[in-house]
């Protein structure tokens, strides 16, 4: 499976799980896309640890802690094409709560972090970090009459920006 096919499968499966998945070519495009998303959304949390994260929240002040934030913007650990999932992990001093407490989760996923299958991903991690979450779409429940309701405890909206630079 080529990178392009993997990205395409990822986008399709993520959308199927009610996440909003978009492709951007580079950090500039990412910043623009996220800026368009943020103003209406309110207090923002970002660990601002990676280059893409720093670029994505440029000009957003103040950043707040994840407990108070309505939006979290973060680069995620991995993506899985088979299921359209993103993976958040407690690595590099990152908290997994960013993808959990704010009602809007904006995930940045570099295309090269996408694995084809669950087996490819799980096979790559060895001993997992303390917390790892494979996330597929928003928080949901069907506990009342099996009627789908979105955003029980976790985010009600998940946006995924796949950063996929064109091949030169």
């Amino acid at each position: 499976m080529t990178r392009a096919e993997m990205v395409a499968t990822f986008m399709e499966k993520a959308a199927g799980a009610a996440a909003v998945a978009m492709e951007v070519a580079d950090a500039d495009a990412l910043r623009e896309a996220i800026a368009a998303l943020l103003p209406a959304a309110g207090a923002v949390y970002s660990p601002a640890l990676s280059e893409l994260e720093v670029a994505a929240v440029q000009g957003v002040t103040p950043l707040v802690g994840y407990e108070e934030a309505q939006v979290a913007v973060e680069e995620v650990f991995a993506g899985i094409a088979e299921t359209g999932s993103i993976v958040c992990a407690s690595v590099e001093g990152r908290a997994v709560q960013g993808s959990l407490l704010p009602s809007h989760h904006v995930a940045i996923l570099p295309a090269e972090k996408i694995y084809r299958t669950l087996d490819d991903f799980i096979g790559s991690i060895g001993t997992p970090p303390t917390n790892m979450a494979i996330i597929t779409g928003p928080s949901r429940t069907a506990d009342i009459e099996l009627t789908l309701a979105i955003g029980v405890h976790g985010p009600e909206r998940v946006d995924i920006f796949v950063v996929n630079p064109p091949v030169p």
């Binding site: 690595v91 087996d119 799980i122 096979g123 303390t130 597929t136 779409g137 506990d143 009342i144 029980v152």
Partner: protein, 455 residues
């Protein structure tokens, strides 16, 4: 078995359930919805039978070497910073959890859905110790507010409709009445968020425990499982010993099978892996993790004839397709686990003398066997338990006499012929004694049986 968890008067319970129209409507809706979703979800899986076979083999491997895998898991979890406890029975499991919490001065704990905690009666025990336990799964929260027990292992409040939930929320939480599930869900989110942020301890179950990494795996859709296991500084996980998978690389097979079988999803919103306690440089994870491995009879079940029951991964697919469950609902089964898996597991866990009427609760139609993702031969196990009941002398006396007579007649054509003749003669009496709903449903015997019409 604690008394609070109900009784096993299956027939009486089922008569009451059948009379409850709103319950039956809810059950029909659930069975039909789950059935359709499951079928659709497996449409995208190329070789389902090979996948089930693989899952079954992995689970059997664990059961064949259960003590070894429990030790490996415990050692690896401890290496990651967890404190592992072994509980031989329900009482000791409750005592362990109770003393961990009281030792930390905990007065309120946020809890994720856990069937084994229902099995051991954990909430009652903790409440007696003065600890408030807040169920955070929406379904569990609903039944906790109502003071009920779960009626389904995946959708605990499946027996309630939106009107009943709306009324419950407005009475208990003081919010305006609504029957919109989306609005009710938002209410629960608000109430619960405060609890999550205030709780100093989280209690969870686990869907799997991974032996080679010492990890716990939780499948959830709501996110409460993630909150409970990563927000409070103290996390207590309670799980039964057979939930182990040998290797982390076994997990994808179960990610493909469990959510599809349970809710018809290709994967749940969250699959969380928890591996030990927060390590240096990490910004999240409980500072203290206690894993309570509950045996409660499983070490002996795994040596018995019905050991395959322990392959169960608690997806609930068997109850969703069971015609009996569809008619009577989960509460009729009188204990934690309903449906086909529940009949077998309850009998094994609570003992035949406490549960023998339950093994009648199947028409042996085999719909459960068709859908079980790990190929538990449920019908075979049910028949085995019925045989055990006969061996133990616990079967109904009239049935025993009837079967002895039947056995003798079936082996002797002359006697069989007389039997037929006699029942034809006594038919009006049989009809009367047999009752409207049994003998009353049989047609008149033919004046000349088939064997007398044949040359």
């Amino acid at each position: 078995m604690s008394e609070e968890q109900g009784s096993l008067h299956f027939r009486a319970n089922s008569v009451a359930s059948i009379a409850d129209e709103s319950l039956r409507a809810a059950l029909r809706n659930a069975a039909d919805t789950f059935g359709t979703r499951r079928t659709l979800a497996f449409g995208s899986v190329p070789d389902l039978e090979a996948l089930r076979e693989k899952a079954s083999a992995i689970r059997m491997e664990v059961l064949d070497n259960l003590p070894g895998y429990v030790d490996t898991f415990a050692a690896n979890a401890a290496r990651q910073g967890a404190t592992v406890h072994r509980a031989s029975d329900a009482q000791s499991a409750c005592d362990i959890v109770g003393s961990i919490l009281t030792g930390h001065g905990i007065t309120m704990a946020a809890k994720g859905k856990s069937m084994v905690s229902e099995e051991i009666g954990l909430n009652h025990h903790l409440q007696r110790l003065g600890i408030e336990v807040v169920e955070t799964d929406l379904g569990e929260y609903i039944i906790q507010l109502e003071g009920e027990t779960p009626s389904h292992i995946i959708v605990p409040a499946i027996h309630k409709n939106r009107k009943q939930v709306g009324k419950l929320f407005s009475e208990r939480l003081g919010v305006p009445y609504t029957e919109d599930p989306q609005v009710l869900t938002k209410t629960a989110r608000k109430v619960m968020r405060e609890k999550f942020l205030a709780a100093k301890a989280g209690i969870s179950g686990a869907n799997f425990a991974i032996a080679d990494t010492g990890s716990l795996v939780l499948f959830t859709n709501e996110g409460n499982g993630r909150m409970v296991t990563s927000l409070p500084p103290l996390h207590v996980a309670v799980l039964s010993i057979e939930k182990i998978l040998p290797k982390l690389t076994d997990l994808p097979t179960f990610i493909r099978l469990l959510p599809r079988s349970a809710t018809g999803q290709a994967i749940t919103s969250y699959v969380s892996l928890i591996t030990g306690t927060r390590k240096a440089g990490e910004a999240t994870g409980a500072k203290e993790l206690h894993i309570v491995l509950v045996d409660n009879g499983r070490s002996s079940i795994v040596k018995g004839e019905c050991r395959e029951m322990l392959k169960c991964i608690r997806c609930g697919a068997c109850m969703n397709v069971c015609p009996v469950y569809r008619t009577v609902g989960g509460h009729a089964y009188g204990w934690t686990y309903p449906g086909p898996m529940g009949m077998v597991l309850t009998t094994l866990l609570t003992g035949m003398e406490n549960s023998y009427p339950l093994v009648d609760a199947s028409t042996l139609c085999g719909a459960c066997v068709d859908v079980c993702p790990v190929r538990i031969p449920l019908v075979e196990l049910i028949v085995k338990l019925r045989e055990e009941r006969v061996r133990d002398g616990l079967s109904d006396r009239r049935e025993r006499i009837g079967m002895r007579l039947f056995g003798a007649a079936a082996a002797q054509p002359a006697l069989f012929g007389w039997g037929e003749k006699l029942s034809r003669l006594l038919w009006p009496v049989i009809k009367k004694v047999g009752g409207e709903k049994v003998a009353g449903r049989l047609p008149e015997p033919a004046a000349r049986p088939f064997h007398r019409r044949m040359p």
